[in-house]
Amino acid sequence: MGDFPATRISTDWITIMKNHIERMKRLTARRQFLGEMAAAGVATLGLGEPMVLANESPLLPKATADCCILLWMGGGMAAPETFDPKHYEPFEIGLKADKIVSTFPAIPTAVDGVQITAGLENIASVLNRGTLVRSHRMPDLGSILHSRHQFHWHTGYVPPQTVAAPHIGAWMARFLGPRNPAIPPFINIGQRLEGHGESEELKAFTTAGFLGAEYGPFNIPFPEEAANSVQPAKGVTPQRFESRMARWRELAKSGPLGEKMSDFHRESVVRSMENAHRLLSSRDRDAFDIHKEPKEIYDIYNTGRFGQGCLLARRLAEAGARYIEVTTEYVPFLHWDTHENGHTTVENLKKQIDRPIAQLILDLEKRGMLDRTLVVLATEFSRDMMIEGVPGSAARDQSRAKSDVMLEMKHYGLHRHFTGSCSALLFGGGIKAGYVHGATAPERPLLVTKDPVSISDMHATIFTAMGISPKAGLDIEKRPFYVTEDAKGRAVEKMFQRSL
């Protein structure tokens, strides 16, 4: 009792003891509750844990999809070079730049009267399974920074923001949770977050933000090595791992902190370790090993990292992941970020994406999963030969192959960032099959002429399919923060098979 004067503590000893006993009773009740919570895999006792808004149920009565796969074309996929063919001019020395709208000829698709561009023949053959959006439109944010537009697309909010905005995958993890408790609900495949010019900006949105790390991404930059991320670290055999866990359990229970076992910190350590152990020792982790796939199927997918990522996504969707993103990977000036040599680069990219995407759709269909799996292909904006941003934008022209006429092959391609329209695909998960939504002008500027779809509305459509209200939100710092910006997103009803 140290320095406490005895008279002060003995004044009302009986009341003190009574209060203490009451407190212990409440505590015991809470411990039991915590035990149940741990089983349910929920932790709500953190500091400043966001609260569900009282007046809006986050969940809609009818989801049309249980799982979402986002195929991300990072770097700005040019619509006229892919899913919205326009006037094609083959390369020719001396050809004037302003004559070129597309550098690929159009090809027919499985949907009557709908064309996409050469190099996407496999996707063309499955286009009747989904909706092609040609009127996705981005805001003019002035001078272009890819990662800023990517931040916007992935969170629905333009940075900077006063609170850390959550990634759409994190919202799904938060509101829907895992489909299979052994599989992390939000899996991010193919993006390295270290070691290039915009990695800090990528990290800023590849996060659960204020929702808390529990809902954050499980990052798998190299799909071929995915199996490593769900097995004990290199060199630790299953036997060693089991013996580590066994000793850990024993020692975690003993020790002089026994009484503190009730503390939610300790609960969260124990719960998390057991969750990790469950994944690491479950058969479900086979889903992470793409080499377990029959060789003939593996070979169809194996066009490179992106193709392998699609295969991994399919396996994880089967195993019960909630949200999976597969990216062609954004690295400044690589892949879809064609500041020069655009035609050749896109030609190569198509070889990487065409076969695996089509196969993913067919595989999901064959397994009877396409109906409940929403596959989305999207990008942060399109590209154009002439216009940077949108007509009238103050954006600084960042093309590296500035030439009024084609002098060499590297001049041939769409090298400027264009935000006035871009294309997206949606397959399965209650989305219409064989439908084209929206249109763009036939000539430059290729602006949306019909049914524009903003990022908020695209997200509202995705969330609605997944059974999350576009108005769902959480209270953070006493302020409501919604899954779509200011709860304004509206699902595009025309894209759904049935009325909402």
Binding site: I9, L47, A213, Q231
Partner: protein, 632 residues
């Protein structure tokens, strides 16, 4: 009629009645005549959160906004028409007893008198009103530590059990982690245990704080978080951000007083200007996120626990801060007159420069920007500004105890669990020239700090929270990495922070390591909770997540560290038996000897002739124990 709130009687006592607007109308006594009528007939449907028909009668402004009355014109006022109506559709009140004639007359006279209202009165139950200035505290009698005397009084008032003091080893570990972020070595623990000096805890605190380097390394994380300073991050790509490392670190090294630090941040020389410059992304930015508004938000949050984020866009719905207030502060740092945007739309009005609390002083709108910043720096750190001191002592209390006296730390308008304690600490801080080390030493010297953790802490966010000792706290990412690196000798060779010619840490060589705070964040540290620092971060997550468990189990960063560590340990342990190895590791990691049972379990892992794998297994198990990851 039920009882009136307390402040009501105070108003009556002071005879503070509003003057009627029209001299010729008979005087009306708002408090004694009008309020009882409104309370009886209107309040249950139209005040304090219930606003039927969207009409609020909380304040005069609300009443006018709801178009319920026209001042001076009772005939055409809706409220008067409705109380006389017999039409079931629109009569008021719709149910229950109608107003009698006298009551009707009172309201009519009141409307005709121009709706006089007592300016400070609202039907909305007033939330706690935090004081702005310093307030004297009378300490309870006795000769113990002032903090203990205040806390004792608090505990007895709540009829709670007194706090129990922790032992020497626990104290050493806790104080060392809190003051310099490092674990004690077994030798230090042993010396401390046999030291018979009755003042040894105070002396230890002084010794820890005297280690300038270790102290600065530890507190750098806290200040990096709240000032969002980072060595790389968003914004740098376009020169839209500037780090303050070369100002911040030396400031901590020399224990610059907090008020001086803040003056140098708000009215900066080039090396400290990063904080007020904010983060600028390439391209156009929403009006509420321009760097001037970031300045307004960050000054408010960091120094005062005021949320100006909502008010940057529109009048706040959650407190009393208005759009004009956010711009008033933003205007101080603006190079040109700052146009006010409401929800990203230009209003045509311009910011009127002023300070948050005019009672503390003014900013000269016509002065140069430099002068305005100097005036602002002076007002923030004014000897009258108790809110400034309270906000910081509360942040420090939260760091040391796991929960602030006011919770959360960024909402200083919330009621503290002990106003006296908060006031006392704020006064102490000011009287000691805002010396951060003195503040720490003072708190750590109390029995309250040296008490056993409260194992029963229920939801700490609840209004019903009762202080009963420190809470268990989780190690920060930096503390965890430093602990692992220190024990296993695996710290990186060089720092990434742009600092040079730093003094060495004092004490045993094991404590002289490159600290995690001075190297770039990596996947592991991010997963352990080191933030992006895109936003001001004032508290870190307390929850350990499955993704962290996976990173520590499967990730190569941690595994490589463990394997390198195992090699180092084996070399150091060449002459030791497995029994001694286990004891040594327990002491180094958990600051205690293992029990016989624990020793037996641990030795099972090591076997009779431990090799690299066996040692790695033991390190892994110990580092993942809750006891290792928590400060108890």
């Amino acid at each position: 009629m039920k009882c009136l709130p307390m402040f009501f009687y105070m108003i009556c006592a002071k005879q503070l009645f509003s003057a009627a607007l029209f001299a010729e109308t008979p005087k009306i006594d708002f408090v004694h005549e009008v309020v009882p009528v409104l309370k009886k007939h209107c309040a249950s449907c139209h005040t304090n959160g219930t606003y039927k028909g969207s009409l609020s009668m909380d304040t005069r402004e609300a009443l006018l906004k709801g178009k319920a009355a026209i001042p001076g014109n009772s005939k055409n006022s809706e409220i008067i028409k409705r109380i006389h109506s017999s039409n079931a559709e629109d009569k008021m009140p719709p149910k229950g007893s109608v107003l009698d004639d006298k009551e009707k007359q009172i309201l009519a006279r009141w409307v005709n008198a121009g709706l006089p209202w007592e300016s400070s009165f609202s039907f909305k139950i007033q939330a706690y009103m935090p004081p702005i200035k310093f307030r004297p505290v009378s300490l309870p009698a006795g000769n113990g530590h002032p903090i203990d005397r205040l806390v004792n009084q608090y505990l007895q008032g709540g009829k709670s059990m007194p706090l129990k003091k922790i032992g020497d080893q626990e104290f050493y570990r806790r104080a060392s982690m809190d003051l310099v972020g490092l674990l004690p070595t077994p030798e230090e623990l042993a010396d401390f245990a046999v030291n018979g000096d009755s003042q040894k805890r105070e002396k230890l605190v002084a010794k820890l704080l005297a280690d300038k380097r270790a102290y600065a390394d530890h507190w750098m994380s806290f200040f990096n978080d709240i000032l969002r300073n980072e060595y790389k991050g968003t914004g740098y790509i376009d020169g839209g951000r500037k780090q303050i490392t070369q100002w911040l670190y030396p400031s901590l090294l020399e224990n610059k007083s907090y008020d001086l630090m803040v003056r140098e941040l708000v009215n900066p020389k080039p090396e400290a200007e990063g904080f007020i410059k904010g983060i600028k992304w390439r391209g156009n930015v929403n009006a509420s996120q321009v760097t001037e508004l970031q300045f307004s938000q960050n000054i408010s949050q960091v120094f005062f626990g005021v949320n100006m984020k909502c008010a940057s866009c529109h009048d706040s719905f959650i407190d009393t801060w208005k759009l004009d207030d956010a711009y008033a502060l933003a205007g101080i740092v603006s190079d040109k007159p700052l146009q006010i945007f409401k929800c990203d739309k230009a209003t045509g009005n311009y910011a009127k420069v002023r300070f948050l609390w005019p009672e503390l002083g003014n900013i000269d709108a016509n002065a140069s920007k430099e002068k305005r910043l100097e005036q602002l720096a002076g007002l923030i750190t004014s000897p009258e500004n108790g809110r400034f001191a309270r906000t910081m002592v509360n942040r420090y209390w939260q760091r040391l105890f796991g929960r602030g006296i006011v919770h959360p730390v960024d909402v200083m308008a919330n009621k503290p669990w002990s106003e006296e304690l908060l006031d006392y600490l704020a006064n102490y801080f000011k009287e000691n020239q805002y010396d951060l080390k003195k503040l720490l030493a003072h708190i750590v010297a109390s029995n309250t700090y040296q008490a056993m953790v409260d194992p029963h802490a229920e939801d700490i966010s609840a209004d019903t929270y009762v202080f009963h000792g420190p809470l268990i706290r989780r190690l920060s990412a930096e503390q965890f990495m430093d602990a692992v690196w220190m024990i296993t000798g695996t710290a990186p060779a060089k720092m990434d922070a742009p600092l040079k010619d730093l003094p060495e840490a004092t004490g045993p060589s094991a404590r002289k390591l490159t600290r995690a705070v001075l190297v770039h964040s990596n996947l592991l540290m991010r997963s352990l909770g080191r933030p992006n620092r895109e936003q001001v971060v004032t508290t870190r997550a307390e929850i350990f997540t499955t993704l962290e468990a996976l990173d520590l189990t499967t990730g190569s960063i941690f595994n490589d560290t463990i394997n390198r560590g195992a090699k180092n340990m084996l070399e150091q342990w060449k002459m030791k038996t497995p029994d001694q190895m286990v004891s040594d590791l327990f002491l180094r990691s958990l600051s205690r000897e293992p029990s016989a049972e624990e020793k037996a379990k641990a030795m099972e892992l090591l076997g009779s002739k431990p090799g690299l794998d066996q040692v790695a297994d033991l390190l892994w198990v110990i580092f993942l124990l809750p006891e290792f990851q928590l400060i108890g």
